[in-house]
């Protein structure tokens, strides 16, 4: 790949981030702020002695344990961020190509030396690889503030802070695991990503309704013609069991990425993404 192509792709990614700041940065930042305010409010309602006891319990709990073993517990704090990322991803994917046509900016981008394939790929990379970076950075900032607050509280209460040090290391490990989980989830749900992009490029109005409606219609037709429900089976397989794509241990990464179902999802997802790339030529 030439240096020019890399710069082109970087510019496209930068454009996605700038045009969707609310989804990439705004939503997790507001959520982190809300969580910090809620935690501070709860802390003010608890007696100072009880708070110090709670901190001592946390410190003892994490003291001496491997940060990698404790990281999954810290990951639980990121559940609201994961749900926010899921909702924001759906909003982004269903609107991104549709919005380009609606604003007619698609004509501008097609006049530039950028292919439809590059544009669609930049949108996938933006949501699968780039958006989780912002979420993870904001989660880490939230952890830092929380740990700094716990440290100050520990110093005031004259406590042993070794456990807080282990908690900090567990927080770092959890942040890395959250990022890897987000990327693996993106790959695992690639058929879903492709489906949303296809209808974002196709629909003249209400792309989300088109995507949902056609899913039901195609599922019905499959049952009617073949007597099977493989589409519904794929939907169930890829959404209902989070253990398929959430990673709590670094040793599982290779196993989760290079398994048959993930690779098959990438193949069928690519069919839909190819459809979205070709669909982008219809700009009316």
């Amino acid at each position: 790949m030439s240096k020019f192509a890399v710069l082109q792709f970087y510019a496209l990614l930068k454009r996605e981030v700038l045009e969707h700041r609310n989804i990439f940065i705004g939503a997790p930042a507001v959520l982190a702020l809300l969580l910090l305010v809620a935690t501070a409010w709860v802390a003010t309602q608890i007696d100072q002695i009880q708070l110090a006891e709670g901190l001592r319990f946390v410190s003892v709990l994490f003291d001496g344990f491997s940060p990698l073993d404790m990281a999954p517990f810290v990951m639980l704090l990121a559940i609201p961020f994961c749900l926010t990322l899921c909702v924001c991803s759906v909003i982004y994917l269903i609107n991104t190509l549709y919005q380009d046509r609606k604003e007619m900016s698609v004509l501008f981008w097609q006049s530039m030396p950028v292919s439809n394939l590059q544009t669609v790929l930049s949108k996938i990379v933006a949501i699968v690889l780039v958006a989780p970076i912002f979420y993870v950075l904001i989660i880490f900032a939230m952890y830092l503030i929380a740990i700094a607050w716990l440290t100050i509280l520990g110093i005031i209460s004259d406590m042993d802070l070794v456990g807080i040090g282990y908690l900090f290391l567990a927080a770092i490990a959890s942040v890395v695991l959250i990022y890897i989980s987000a990327v693996v989830t993106g790959l695992w749900l690639l058929p879903f990503v492709g489906w949303l992009l296809l209808f974002s490029a196709f629909a003249k109005k209400t792309p989300l309704l088109w995507a949902g409606g056609v899913f039901i219609l195609v599922g019905f037709l499959e049952d009617f013609i073949f007597g099977t429900q493989f589409l519904a089976d794929q939907g169930k397989l890829r959404t209902l069991d989070p253990r398929q794509y959430l990673i709590f241990d670094f040793q599982n990464v290779i196993e989760k990425v290079f398994n048959y179902d993930t690779l098959f999802g990438i193949v069928v997802g690519s069919i839909l993404i190819a459809g979205a790339v070709f669909m982008r030529r219809f700009t009316d």
Binding site: V218, E222, Q229, F230, L231
Partner: protein, 78 residues
């Protein structure tokens, strides 16, 4: 062929979905995936337990009711 597929957005959508479903169904049949996920069954209504005697009774009752109505109409009461 290419002209046919890329004639308009609808043909492209249909072809994409046909290819997608074709791969999905073929893979499912080859690997023996679970073909039935949702069963449209009403657990409160089972045909095997359907009581045909009650249905016969219903028909007889209906016949009796209709005869009664005919009798009632024949009385010419206002």
């Amino acid at each position: 062929m290419e002209d046919l597929i890329l004639r308009n957005r609808y043909t492209l959508l249909v072809v994409t979905l046909i290819v997608y479903m074709g791969v999905l169904v073929a893979e499912g049949m080859i690997t023996g995936r679970e073909a039935r996920v949702i069963e449209f069954e009403n657990f409160y209504f089972e045909l095997d337990d359907f009581n045909s005697i009650d249905f016969e009774g219903f028909r007889e009752t209906r016949t009796v009711n209709e005869n009664t109505r005919v009798d009632f109409d024949d009385t010419d009461d206002v």
